[in-house]
Symmetry: C3
Subunit: 345 residues, 3 copies
């Protein structure tokens, strides 16, 4: 045996200010788009049709923002979460530039916070990850924090640095996607988009049951997770856990829920920001996943484009149920995601 394989980083291997250039750059394109449509019941017109995207100013259809998120995220796994005990949260996620077929993505992360747990065996690592295209332009930036094991419990605790994080991306910080021109919905075709509801038709506090459910198969979540070059063994190796189950990559549930949300939010064409996210309970093959949304906020971006802030919940259970009397997520809740999407005003 040699030491050539990657053991992953342990808690004591991180230092605030450290910048990690992640492997492996990836050119994304029509193939990834087709796979995404096969893996999720994805119907948003902007990432489905070049013609629709052209009519919205973007030149051609960008890849779905979650394709970008998963690709950028997947690259961080070997450096950030190979020895993670838990994926604790996301914050300050902003999509900064659309990604088009043929673009090549790579990722970098800066360690921005560290806090050893009181048990001395693990700690929390905060990283700000940025995805870049082949022009070295940032396309996505987000903060993630994970609990990571120490390899050596005797390693000294680092100075605690807890980064200040916004509860949500401020509307003023959202970036309007620019392709050939900035995103515009002034000649938007609601028939082709699938629903007549504009941002002005949604009320803050409104809840939407997205109705449909999808039962997940092992092959599907593994195909998806590999597509993002996320090779964390817990997703692929049925001998890894004692119960023989393969844990489904949390991002698979995000994409599934977002795609299901088309039914009721068909005009929430693209994701502008991820404010927060919690993988409330683990998801396994055989689970039937449903989704519901709640409108949290709205903010007009341009005359015809409005940002809508949404809570998106993936669940194995009933719509609109989120937390128990104890304040904890109900056992059927899989995902609680807070994001901004862009829709016609």
């Amino acid at each position: 045996m040699t030491s050539k394989t990657n053991p992953g980083r342990f808690f004591e291997d991180y230092a605030v200010g450290q910048v990690i250039r992640h492997a492996v750059p990836r050119t994304v394109g029509e193939g990834e788009r087709a796979m995404y449509h096969a893996l999720y019941p994805q119907r948003f017109a902007l990432s489905s049709s070049d013609v629709f995207a052209l009519d919205c100013g973007l030149g051609c259809s960008p890849l779905d923002e979650l394709v970008v998120f998963h690709t950028v995220f997947g690259k961080t796994v070997p450096d950030i979460s190979l020895n993670a005990v838990a994926n604790l949260g996301y914050a300050e996620g902003r999509f900064l530039k659309p990604v088009f077929p043929g673009d090549t993505l790579r990722s970098e992360s800066e360690v921005i916070g560290l806090k050893q747990n009181s048990n001395g065996k693990s700690g929390v690592v905060w990283v700000r990850t940025t995805g870049f295209n082949q022009m070295d332009e940032p396309v996505l930036s987000y903060v993630r924090w994970v609990m990571v094991r120490k390899a050596d419990p005797a390693a000294p605790a680092p100075e605690t640095v807890i980064p200040p994080l916004d509860d949500a991306v401020a509307a003023a910080d959202l970036v309007l996607p620019v392709g050939d021109a900035p995103l515009a919905f002034d000649s938007y075709d609601f028939d082709l988009a699938g629903e007549p509801h504009r941002a002005s038709n949604y009320a803050v506090g409104e809840q939407i049951d997205h109705v449909d459910g999808v039962t997940i198969e092992e092959a599907e979540h593994m195909l998806a997770t590999r597509l993002w070059q996320n090779t964390a063994k817990v997703h692929f190796d049925a001998t890894h856990r004692e119960d023989g189950k393969r844990l489904i990559y949390g991002g698979h549930v995000i994409s599934l829920a977002r795609a299901l949300s088309f039914n009721g939010l068909a005009n929430a064409q693209c994701i502008a920001a991820i404010n927060a996210g919690a993988h409330a309970n683990p998801c396994f093959a055989g689970d039937t996943v449903r989704a519901w949304s709640e409108v949290l906020d709205k903010a007009q971006m341009t005359a015809d484009v409005t940002a809508i802030r949404l809570r998106l919940v993936a669940t194995r259970g009933a719509a609109f149920a989120l937390r128990g009397a104890d304040g904890k997520y109900l056992p059927d809740v899989l995902l609680d995601l807070d994001y901004w999407a862009l829709m016609p005003s």
Copy 2:
């Protein structure tokens, strides 16, 4: 809960003459071609090789006609068959123009017939669906009729209109695909195509057992059905039926049978028309599907291109068995499709 989700149309929501523009336009390309090859044992040379297609006059390889059919069909589901009790039939399906990678497809349907059932609870809706490319050129037209539930049994019955439909597309109405030039088989390479049999080698009445069988997995039919943005819940949600089974999209069986028919009909390079089709029995994961064909007719199109009319049967059972003594489809028969294909004369 809000009313923003799509409840689908009920029988009383249709009127003869009504035209429905379906969501969501879709750009199809190399990704969909690769997925199609992964999902079905597809080997027809024309939709596999740019060079072969170039040699046949088409400039580059068109997408398989069934990719076009499924894409156009999938868009109609939310408007036509979300509350359908049964998919009753197809007629007058004609492929009007090849679809190439990069083309964007959308669909429209016109209601051409209505007949309330005597029970007053449902009725039959006939629609003529047309698929268009980004130039608004029709690429496919077909009639489908479905039995749809009424939301309100007390809603008045519409005037009965039963559209006159041809038993089969007349050979004179078949459209020769045109790419850079009209489809031509004058420099056809039978070695590369896989079999030596020309149209003149097939006799009307001849039956062909396609020999091979494919056992279907849940993940496969769901990947396929999602790829066409067909989101009918019966295909995806294992909690939807009492028996916990997911019904396989009928089009998956069509594609599987057509791909299997390569073995014996390798030169039936493309589908020109769908004359009729019946999904004789439901198909579920675990079924092993086989196929057989019968030559129904032949019609010369050009000196080197001949249309061959074929019955294509998908079955879990023995070849050439179709109906019982009672005239009904045998329980193992899944599909009975009547179509025109084009092959070297």
Copy 3:
């Protein structure tokens, strides 16, 4: 029933010197690349990123050499191994030219050896298969030998011809890939590639446990095998074997093991030659596959490119265990592959 379906060739149908042009040509591209990333935990930077490939002189990212191998191999199945009892070995496999998205591949095989078995019921057929691109340039050449049944046991035995085969491709016969320019690693980015280890860091005799395991699902191996248009029924038809199992295409195990080998051999960017290969035991869905490698040899190609000869073993069991006391492969060993890869010197 007619004789139009392909019964496959039997032992007595082969003659030394015979050249078989295989059906069906196939244009490969971005779709196949995306599918490959979804099917295998593939992370080699050269076949992942256009930018990385450009920096290595190739202009854009070539398709993984195993995509080429499977595509070329798949075409031979209907002519060579439809009636094969066993796939006995590979030799003298050389990748001669990179394959880029948009290239069209076809295959030819020449029968170079024949030896009837003493039982008179079967025999061994050696073929040299060549894959060509659309310019008729050879992209891959390899020898494979299979044991094939006789249709008529009374058919006379052919003259025995056993072709002389090299134990391994000589380093001098390896071909450096040429895109815009010959492959060069002089501006190689080890961070982006994923590991710091150069060829000079590997010692002959060194063994590497690639650590990760992947549990295989039926849907995955069938998607993969169909993608290569390999339609051998044993992979797809659960009714074919008495035990109801579908045998996994050996090439699926090759790709899986090669992708797993990234962890420890991330800089073995491309395969230059396949020296030998044995599918030691059959693989079935549910198996959890792991991989280990052993460095067999090294040979400098240019100042910055070195060929490394590797034994790659796929196993359901422990790393580094290969053969029992009887010299036979252990029951958990699935693949023993001997190949040359190219890495920074």
